[in-house]
Symmetry: C2
Subunit: 398 residues, 2 copies
């Protein structure tokens, strides 16, 4: 298909589960183009348990990859809200992130890759090697490129030992600074057993409690901030629970006593997006050490700039990644002005205006004010070198 | 300096600690070129403990980076034989590996980077972000490029919690297949507590025992294969030792009872390179699941091809990375023929002829028979796009 499009000068919009939030898999309508849906390339080609790898096709739904790993006694750690319908090809093309602070983003899960190049030739780089220093690591080019350099059709993914014990805690905090300090303390006490560490502002929790009639605040009294933390380990649940309880000593916290309790805590976190929908959304990151300063600075700047603001802040503390959303709904009409305040703070603190959602169409203009002209030039040099006719997903990223 | 060289059409050979094994930092003499030594750019610019990052200059010796992390209560995990003199810029440019199976190669330690481009302009990508999906991840280009696309001058590196307990075991095994199985078992039992898992053939151990007059075999009786395993955890040494002893139940093994005993076990492993020097060396990788087959296949093929062979095999099982060296010394004169046998087996099993040492000058020809023409073409496309005048480290990699 790609070879035919190249011959005809037809542009190609690769599309996975179409769950992206920045319009990366949506045609712009600016020129003649086809949508290339990868959903039928959905085979798990092989599992190599002694190598801890799975070779999967781009159209595999993320949850299916997770399930195949689980069935084989392994863990595929990438996890995000859309996992029931997003596809692994899209996850890799957008370098998807999610909650699993311990294992890194999609990029870090990939050992090998198969890619159809803009001229239709197939590069077979499906190697299952953890070390391979034989020249430029070509697969890195296509990870996070949002389909603008070629179409990922398959990949060799890392699998991990499946934790045998887990613990889930809901922890009261006075401020984001306390959350960052607690994460540092926990990392020194329980190391890599922390698999998620999710910040939730009081506004977010109240929105969820209003949205879900049967939900209740896990802690008796209201707290300005809370963290949902997840821990995993090989060993017994008793050992892990004991360690976590000890590590959290001195904090007001609830440690889930059953799988059902853990799921109800996670349901609170996972319902945040649908509970506060009509506002100006952001997916930003800053160094972890700057999280508190970012929230403080931006909250104040927004309060100065607009007469009424309501800030819903939640996110992945371990990755410095905040979903920082600003209401009320009336502010949506002033989206550009709101963005300007937030992006200024991001820039001041050395952050990113798209931590995990990509640029797509939505942030293609904004990024020109954030990145240096040299960095933009280097990106264009790569685009021109690999896709000289500009046929791959035009109008996205660059 | 680079801008001046670009103006004069003078080639540049970046050089760090000059400890590479493939001639990547050595001028070829084929044309007028300068050696650019980075050793004086050796400041640790900053440590950000709440972000778990260090910003360091290229000329920092690896051991100095490790020490700075340790002094701050953190771990910088990259560790390899030359750590006392190799420099971090060289480690990143060659995507160095080493023994630390748990944390990955140099590439995986980098969050941000500063690079002088072939025309002398400086790209400042020194971001300390764990998530940043705003277009192509430019730093990936320079990692492992062996200085052929630009000169890395500084980087933001990840730091990790420092394990508070460690355990070191020397384990008897009948075969490489048993080593691979044991690693899989241990991963399911103790997860990421495994920080090194080093295979040692009897020939290697005997060479070390002959080379070090005061060394002795840690196990009473001779075994065809042994593994040196290192474990780390946050917690007490007693807890960790108890778990490891339990996990190794049924295996003939020595668990070090003191730091001194652990060091003497590591000394056996670290003395292997100097104990078997005059032979034909290889640094190969295969999928972990193919290690046993590789050793079996290659041993047999070498015995067929040459009247007398002595095989010294050691390496990093968790990475599928073997140093597979073939004596006696007389075979060095037949290096090309020996390489051919080994590289054929590597290719058959989907492996790499340079797992962690790079291509440099030494493997620049050999790789042309291993990689597809398309992959070589893509590498050349990148080289031409970023260094159109071919001034950066000519005669290396491509």
């Amino acid at each position: 298909v790609i070879a035919l499009c190249a011959r005809e000068g037809l542009a190609v919009v690769p599309q996975g589960g179409n769950t992206g939030l920045v319009g990366g898999s949506v045609p712009t309508g600016a020129r003649r183009e086809i949508v290339l849906a990868l959903g039928r390339m959905n085979r798990i080609r092989s599992l190599d348990l002694l190598n801890d790898t799975a070779t999967v096709e781009a159209g595999c739904v993320l949850a299916a990859v997770q399930a195949a790993a689980t069935d084989a006694g392994r863990l595929f750690p990438l996890s995000l809200a859309a996992e029931g319908s997003c596809q692994i090809g899209g996850n890799l093309s957008t370098n998807a992130g999610g909650v699993n602070v311990r294992y890194g983003t999609a990029r870090e899960q990939v050992l090998g890759m198969e890619v159809v190049l803009p001229d239709g030739r197939v590069w077979n780089g499906l190697r299952g090697l953890r070390k391979d220093n034989t020249g430029y690591d070509l697969k890195q080019l296509f990870l996070g490129a949002e389909g603008t350099l070629g179409v990922i059709t398959a990949a060799v993914l890392r699998l991990y030992p499946k934790p045998t014990a887990s613990a889930t805690a809901w922890i009261a905090l006075a401020s984001p600074a306390q959350a960052v300090e607690l994460l540092a303390t926990l990392r020194s006490r329980v190391g890599d057993r922390i698999s998620a560490f999710e910040l939730v502002s009081r506004t977010c929790l109240e929105a969820v409690l209003a949205h879900l009639p049967d939900a209740r605040d896990p802690l008796g009294a209201p707290h300005p901030w809370t963290v949902l933390a997840e821990f995993g380990d090989c060993g017994t649940a008793e050992d892990l629970h004991g360690r976590i309880a000890e590590a959290l000593d001195g904090h007001e916290a609830v440690l889930a006593q059953s799988g059902e309790q853990a799921r109800s805590l996670w349901r609170l976190r996972e319902s945040i997006p649908e509970a506060q929908f009509s506002n100006v959304k952001h997916d930003i990151s800053v160094p972890v050490s700057k999280i508190a300063e970012f929230i403080d600075l931006t909250d104040r700047a927004l309060k100065c700039a607009f007469t009424s603001t309501q800030i819903f802040c939640f996110g992945h503390v371990g990755d410095g990644n905040l979903h920082y959303n600003i209401g009320p709904a009336a502010l949506v009409a002033q989206r550009d002005a709101v963005n300007r305040v937030v992006y200024d703070a991001v820039e001041r603190l050395g952050g990113s205006i798209s931590a995990e959602h990509g640029l797509g169409q939505l942030k293609r203009e904004a990024i020109r004010n954030q990145k240096s002209p040299l960095e933009l030039e280097l990106m264009r040099v790569l685009k021109t070198a690999l896709d000289p006719k500009g046929l791959m997903n035009p109008g996205k990223v660059l």
